[in-house]
Amino acid sequence: MVASGEKIRVQNLTVSFGGAASLKNVCLDIQSCEILSIIGPANSGKTTFLKTINRLIDSENGVKVSGSVLLDGKDIYKEYDPVFLRRKVGIIFAMPLPLPMTIFENVVYGLRRQGIKDKSTLMQSAEKALKAAYLWDEAKDRLHELAMKLSGGQQQRLCIARTLALEPDVVLFDEPCSGLDPISTAKVEEAMLKLKEKYTIVLVTNNTKQAARVGQRTAFFLMGDLIEVDSTSKMFTAPSDKRTEDYISGKFG
């Protein structure tokens, strides 16, 4: 894990689907081991942005990507194999999406696909990941039960655990708490803050208060454009752009 320095650099990124652009000329850099919050109203391209970073966008119909995204200085399209990239850049989706298998199998899914079969290795990784996601205590006696039986908040933490099991460098969160109650939300936020020590985190959220709580820097997207990005404290007290101010104060969105 690199302690400091630039982790991701986005340059002139334009992403369009069949002619309509979801992201226009976005330029942004993300530092190692920071939490970057991304806020903005619906359809601003925030999810598209996340999915581009780990190239999950590739499987969408009719997608065109131009510009570049550099991870550790290397272009994710030209110098990375997408499978390898996705192990380095994990993603947590808005709805908890456990696969219909046991808790254990969910956590080790990615590891198994890499060819790791040894039971003790898998168990060790699973325990480490579940602890980092603050789920170990609740799950350790239920590892071989179906993941679907967990509550919503637990399922979301399971999704975090299975991403962490791959030991990525970057973890992307796409509105991870949108379906969760306040207590589960608090647990997920707590996990995020602890993760910051080792991982680079990008958090997309519709909840401006959450962005303020968790992120060190915040970026504001509007209709596919990156309007501004700055330290969170400055964004929320004295934003440079009028549109940012309007959004944060609730005038729209």
Binding site: R87, L97, P100, R113
Partner: protein, 285 residues
């Protein structure tokens, strides 16, 4: 023309008519089963099922026909299942919405509509003639396999399509390749549908006569087939010849053959229906 009856009365009359029409469609199924059962049950003894025929096919058992049908059906599935499943995977997971996709779908619809006797001609021309397999289990199985291919492709494709899209996204995001995603995140959950389609294909292959008329079927073959290049008897063909070309057959024997064939086919379909509803109820997502 003004309707002299009130809407409510019209509705009652209409619904009654429709109900009777539906009965007319469904009841014959029951009648067919009952007639065959009644007349054929006495003939279906263990000897009937396990012995070779005698007296020029008029008596004895129908073992070679049962065995022949079994080989043909197994062969057909061995050909059609891998090919059909891969085709369904291609259509569901790899192909995009373009002209090629449309043409493939049209080809499948057409394949499904080709008359069974035309499959027979095709099998005769390609497998018996061109590949020089001769009238054989191999030729017959391949012909039947081509015939049930659309059934397997269509049901497999439906099964794959019913797996939620999110499973694929999650799997990819965890660093799995596309093929791994298909094998570990999609296919296991599509298996019941694939199984149902295969069983339906089996039922279809077991009952078809025209495709095997020129490609494998023999009538008087009082021994079991030696290998896949050998001819074989088959239940549907046996029933056909027994009914139309052999005089002085005890009707019991005819009904018995029909009963065995019908039972095999209906049981296959019932199993498929039951598997389908069982898994539909048990869906874990």
């Amino acid at each position: 023309m003004r309707n002299p009856f009130s809407p409510k009365v019209s509705q009652k009359a209409a619904f009654l008519l429709l109900f009777f029409a539906t009965l007319l469609v469904i009841v014959p199924v029951g009648m067919v089963i009952v007639v065959i059962l009644k007349n054929g049950a006495k003939a279906v003894t263990w000897e009937f099922l396990s012995q070779m025929p005698s007296a020029g096919m008029r008596a004895g058992g129908i073992l070679p026909a049962i065995v022949g049908t079994f080989y043909l059906v197994v062969g057909a599935v061995l050909f059609a299942l891998p090919l059909g499943l891969c085709a369904a995977i291609y259509l569901s997971e790899y192909s995009k919405e373009n002209l090629m996709n449309r043409i493939v779908r049209l080809a499948i619809i057409n394949l499904a509509g080709v008359p069974s006797v035309v499959f027979g001609l095709f099998g005769l021309g390609l497998f018996v003639g061109f590949f020089k397999f001769g009238a054989s289990i191999l030729a017959g199985s391949l012909t039947l396999g081509v015939m049930i291919l659309p059934v397997i492709i269509t049901s497999s494709r439906e099964a794959l399509g019913s797996v939620p899209k999110s499973f694929r996204e999650v799997s990819l995001s965890l660093g799995a390749t596309k093929l791994q995603t298909i094998c570990y995140a999609v296919l296991p959950h599509a298996l019941p549908g694939v199984l149902t389609g295969t069983i339906l294909g089996v039922g279809r292959a077991a009952g078809e006569t025209a495709p095997i008329l020129f490609t494998v079927a023999a009538f008087y073959l009082p021994r079991l087939p030696r290998d896949i290049f050998d001819q074989a008897m088959a239940l549907p063909y046996h029933l056909y010849v027994l009914s139309t070309q052999v005089p002085n057959v005890d009707p019991k024997v005819r009904y018995g053959t029909a009963l065995v064939l019908l039972s095999i086919v209906l049981i296959m379909n019932l199993i498929a229906i039951m598997i389908r509803s069982y898994f539909r109820a048990r869906k874990k997502w």
